[in-house]
Point group: C2
Chain length 395, copies 2
């Protein structure tokens, strides 16, 4: 990471609670650890934040790479604390606990805070070794991560560029398909969600990005915001495409949704598209530093309710209408702080958030429009450069 | 999952320790939870194994899918335990803890075992609510997962078919490249690790598989078993290709390694290839139910040491020679139980393991050959159908 991350709030918490350190024990899938250490590895490793440094404990296999790549002030390997001997004597689990206790003692750390998701086996094992372990349940590192450095914003921007290429590839497939018996047809075979998803994935791969899932959902499928979609794509129905890739090198994510229809989806669907677009514009318009995520969400709900559709604000039990929150933070995780929802707190400059209203009903289909933006002092900068329109084009 | 998984050892542990249940609190990236519940979701959910049932607690968004897709005996949604009210009153963390405590109480569960990696925040929160929580550090679910049902073996076999297609695509690229000034050239540009990796990834995508990483490493890169490789591929050097994809639907992994050289890599490299192949054959030959993973590893080390190369058995500190273990279990995780290493216990029918000896030296390069097999009563069945040979072909 080019800018050092600012762990001041974490160190203030340690000082306030009179604790010696903050310990993470996780593998590379844990974004907090990746963020704090500037390092990632497939197997578990440990990151200790003390009042004046960041210290890594890694296996011998990762030692060289951790020394050259990580942002830590010191890197130790397990063998420096006699892991192999301890494991031979005490077994795999207890050997690792004792090694970790020795690592903590070496850094003069007796009392630690750990993240909510820190392994219970490690916490209880360290307690047996005399270490005081307190779970920190506020998500302090997630809060720090919410505010991006300029370098981080650039990484997210780069992923969103790849995302735009993937969306363009998907839109082109849909726009250039033939329509036969109400179904989209490409190269003589029905165009399916799976085929469009493959096109998206291949495009992202060529841009150095990967993803776990993508949504290409048509008709009633698209009325369920969590449905990935499957099967043939129909003409005259809304197709929701939601792409959230992650750069394979940096780990930073992008996120964007567009809704397309080949042919006329009908007056009601078009009205829903227009209302969703109006709500998306109202959401963007509401964003600036100092405004709460809740207020942005309210601005979006206002538009949708005024148009006569339900929201979870007007009816917490509704299955149709706007049935999710307006947005979420995006960074090393696709979903992270802050929230743009009824519980969303004050937005700050450097928050990267999605704005993604939608209107859903199995009888009509689904519509969603989503951009990724960064909050600024007096508004926002849109990190997404992609046309908003229901009719797909090949441009 | 077609066959129900056999949780008998887990329930025996509960009975023996006089505990009411085993609780997992994780998201879909946790393979233990996926295995026990037959369900996966991007966000956290909870799986409770009692003496007579498996019970899921999921968000409203996942409720329908959990009911239709999961293998659980009951599925509850958070709102059934007043999550939203509790969260409004006590905040996000404490609200969730109280909801979970109510879910446990509803199933008459006061005392639980949890996995080593269970969140400390959840464990300590439940303890505050009067639940007795003990971390189970033996990895009991991992042990159960080591033995595959016939259905699971078929899923792994299917992923390995995709893997073979990807390996063939990579081999074809290397075999059909031109050689100019000692470098492989494809379509007029130097053939790189990155280009071959892309070909592998695209082939896997077309077969419904994804992967986090792939190794296409040439020359000195290939002498570091964890180096993914980068840059131009040279003629007359060993290129190690290690592919470990996962099926996107089932989650089951495959794993295979082949080593190729365009042109003569020299006598020493060819000798290392032959010794590695002999060691791989000796490893396969040693496998049968009742034999330990340690004994299989020893059979492999015997061949390599007899040929005059170091192993971690002959020199624990060696940086060259055979510097990793012989293999590992493969299933919902690419690396899981059992181990085919010095600490490997008895192999059982249904264990799916890799056999992957290699010989490494930065001065000569790296060689590795790996198949995936399933242990049977009197030997093994090879789940891999791919020629072993140093010279790449386009067949």
């Amino acid at each position: 990471m080019d800018d050092p991350v600012d762990l001041t709030p974490l160190r203030a918490m340690l000082e306030q609670r009179d604790l010696d350190g903050y310990l993470i024990d996780a593998d590379g899938s844990n974004s907090d650890q990746r963020y704090v250490s500037g390092f990632t590895a497939p197997d578990p490793y440990q990151t200790l934040v003390t009042r004046d440094g960041v210290h890594l404990l890694v296996s011998g296999l990762e030692f060289g790479r951790a020394q050259s790549d990580s942002a830590a002030d010191s890197v130790s390997r397990l063998s420096a604390y006699d892991y192999h001997e301890r494991r031979a004597e005490h077994g795999r689990y207890e050997g690792m606990i004792r090694t970790l206790a020795a690592f903590l003692a070496d850094h003069n750390v007796d009392t630690i805070a750990v993240p909510q998701e820190f392994p219970t086996g490690t916490a209880d094992g360290l307690r047996e070794q005399g270490v005081t372990v307190t779970a920190e349940t506020e998500g302090i590192v997630q809060k720090i991560r919410a505010t991006k450095t300029p370098w981080e914003v650039n990484q997210i921007r780069a992923t969103q560029r790849a995302n735009e290429a993937a969306m363009a590839a998907a839109e082109t497939l849909i726009a250039s398909a033939d329509v036969e018996d109400g179904v989209l047809v490409h190269d003589g075979t029905p165009l399916t969600s799976e085929r469009v998803t493959e096109e998206i994935e291949i495009t992202l791969l060529r841009h150095g990005c990967g993803l776990d899932e993508t949504i290409v959902a048509c008709g009633a499928d698209a009325a369920d915001p969590h449905n990935r979609g499957s099967g043939e794509l129909a003409a005259g129905e809304c197709i929701v495409i939601d792409i959230f890739p992650q750069d394979k090198e940096t780990g930073y994510a992008g996120d964007m949704t567009r809704t397309f229809s080949r042919g006329d989806p009908g007056e009601e669907a078009r009205r829903r598209y227009d209302v969703t677009k109006e709500a998306y514009e109202a959401g963007l318009e509401a964003v600036e530093a100092g405004v709460t995520g809740a207020a942005v969400h309210d601005a979006v709900c206002d538009v949708i309710e005024d148009a006569g559709y339900e929201t979870l604000r007007s009816d917490p039990d509704t299955d149709t209408g706007f049935i999710h929150s307006t947005g979420h933070g995006v960074g090393l995780d696709v979903h992270e702080e802050p929230r743009v929802s009824p519980s969303g707190g004050e937005l700050e400059p450097g928050h990267v958030i999605s704005i993604e209203p939608g209107i859903y009903d199995p009888a009509v289909g689904g519509v969603r429009i989503e951009d990724l933006i960064v909050v600024t002092e007096d508004g926002y900068e849109n990190l997404t450069d992609y046309r908003v329109g229901l009719d797909p084009t090949t441009e």
